[in-house]
């Protein structure tokens, strides 16, 4: 019995944002997919055809699935990047949701440095970005140590939370050089993740976007 691989399409804006981790999972697993990038001016026309009026949306044999973490987890499960046991998978989920909470805290700073609005960058850096980074990356550094300082946040193999954190560090460093200098184990994880040969292949050829 030959089961054919489903056809995959991922619709998102042309940036990395909430779509990049899923794109990376396809590349890491050598799974073909349509990397559908919707320019901002085409989004209003496309919006109503999406389940939640948002992107990213994953299409599996034409069936839509919204919400970036639901998509990333689904693909990670399919391709083997979700941890090796149910408890490990739950820890990947816990770190991902902690990242989501952190991102909500740092968003006002990022909103301004990305150029989406006006604001006092220095004040936001001190009052918003630095406390959020210290709290979250403190958790990650301890987690990396408790996990055996092995270059992964959970277990002993690459998971989608390694990808998410590594991608975000890339964003942070554009606006806050040395953002994670106080978190050497986290930096080791980022280094190990971004030098994975299959991932590096994608990182070297993907479209370059600021976020």
């Amino acid at each position: 019995l030959l089961t054919t691989m489903p056809s995959y399409k991922l619709s998102y804006f042309p940036g990395r944002g909430l779509g990049e981790v899923s794109r990376q999972l396809f590349h890491l697993s050598d799974t073909p997919f349509e990397d559908h990038r919707v320019p901002m001016d085409e989004w209003p026309a496309y919006k109503d055809s999406t389940p939640f009026g948002q992107m990213p949306v994953l299409f599996v044999d034409g069936k839509p699935l919204p919400q970036s973490f639901a998509i990333a987890r689904f693909l990670a499960d399919q391709f083997g990047f979700a941890g090796k046991t149910p408890f490990e998978a739950a820890w990947v989920d816990a770190l991902a949701d902690q990242y989501k909470d952190y991102f909500a805290e740092i968003r006002p700073f990022l909103f301004v440095v990305f150029g989406f609005g006006e604001g006092d960058k220095e004040k936001l850096k001190k009052k918003v970005a630095e406390p959020a980074i210290n709290k979250f990356f403190g958790i990650l550094e301890k987690r990396a140590k408790d996990n055996g300082s092995n270059g992964h946040l959970v277990g002993n193999s690459l998971t989608w939370i390694d990808l998410q954190v590594s991608d975000h560090i890339g964003v942070l460093e554009l606006y806050l050089p040395n953002a994670i200098s106080a978190y050497p184990l986290v930096n080791e994880i980022r280094k190990k993740t971004t030098t994975d040969p299959k991932l590096k292949e994608w990182l070297d050829k993907r479209p370059v976007t600021p976020f």
Partner: protein
């Protein structure tokens, strides 16, 4: 007994399926429903015993540094900690069979839960005032924050429930933790904003059906009564 008897008995024992001991579970949270209620319901629905630890607010600061993320709820499985309410909910739901019947269905459960999380973030300023945690103009917040957030999210839920055949579930044809999440929220809303969801009859019908699940009904009737 003869050696032959002992041999046959040992052989028989090795053929009997070994019952692996169920893990011990402990769930630690504040004495409210909020972010721990779905996990509590999953244990009860599955008939799985667990230690339902409710920490008074005054006791929390001493406990906080002992938790992985300085937050609750916290699940402990044979003493091993797991933080973050949705990670806990999903882990238990998968163990006990309340996470959808296929990987794609499980992903849709996740998507609804994450959309609910986004909605809660939007609703937060109104929620804080309603619960008495902050000062503010309730009516202004309702107009500026509550109604837009509600219309966006419950519009999605209304359509999901209809497209799913008004079968008493938001996705698939069996109880999932997304059903429990929404039903508990609707309960809280009904306490504080009685007619807030009247414009979403299929959602309300779905929640009624969810709440009539026998074991869940039992739990709801006997659990500590809290306003959120």
């Amino acid at each position: 007994h003869s050696p032959l008897y002992n041999l046959l008995y040992s052989a028989w024992l090795s053929l009997v399926p070994s019952f692996s001991a169920m893990p011990s579970y402990k769930l630690t949270y504040f004495p409210v429903r909020a972010r721990a209620e779905v996990a509590r319901q999953l244990f009860y629905l599955a008939g799985v015993p667990f230690e339902d630890v409710r920490v008074p607010h005054a006791d929390w600061p001493a406990l906080k540094p002992k938790t992985p993320f300085g937050q609750m709820p916290l699940l402990e499985v044979d003493g091993k900690p797991l933080p973050q309410s949705y990670a806990i909910n999903r882990y238990l739901a998968k163990e006990f069979g309340f996470a959808g019947k296929s990987p794609f269905e499980a992903a849709w459960v996740d998507a609804i839960a994450d959309q609910f999380k986004d909605y809660n973030i939007e609703l937060r300023p109104l929620f804080l005032v309603l619960m008495g945690f902050a000062q503010g103009d309730k009516d202004q917040l309702l107009k500026d924050v509550g109604i837009p957030a509600r219309d966006k999210f419950f519009g999605i839920l209304e359509k999901l429930a209809k497209d799913n055949g008004n079968n008493g579930h938001f996705v698939g044809s069996s109880l999932t933790w997304a059903d429990l999440l929404i039903a508990d929220h609707v309960k809280t809303v009904s306490i504080h904003l009685p007619s807030f969801l009247d414009g979403f009859p299929t959602v309300l019908d779905t929640v009624k059906k969810i709440e009539s699940t026998p074991k869940l009904k039992e739990w709801i009737e006997k659990r500590p009564d809290t306003k959120f």
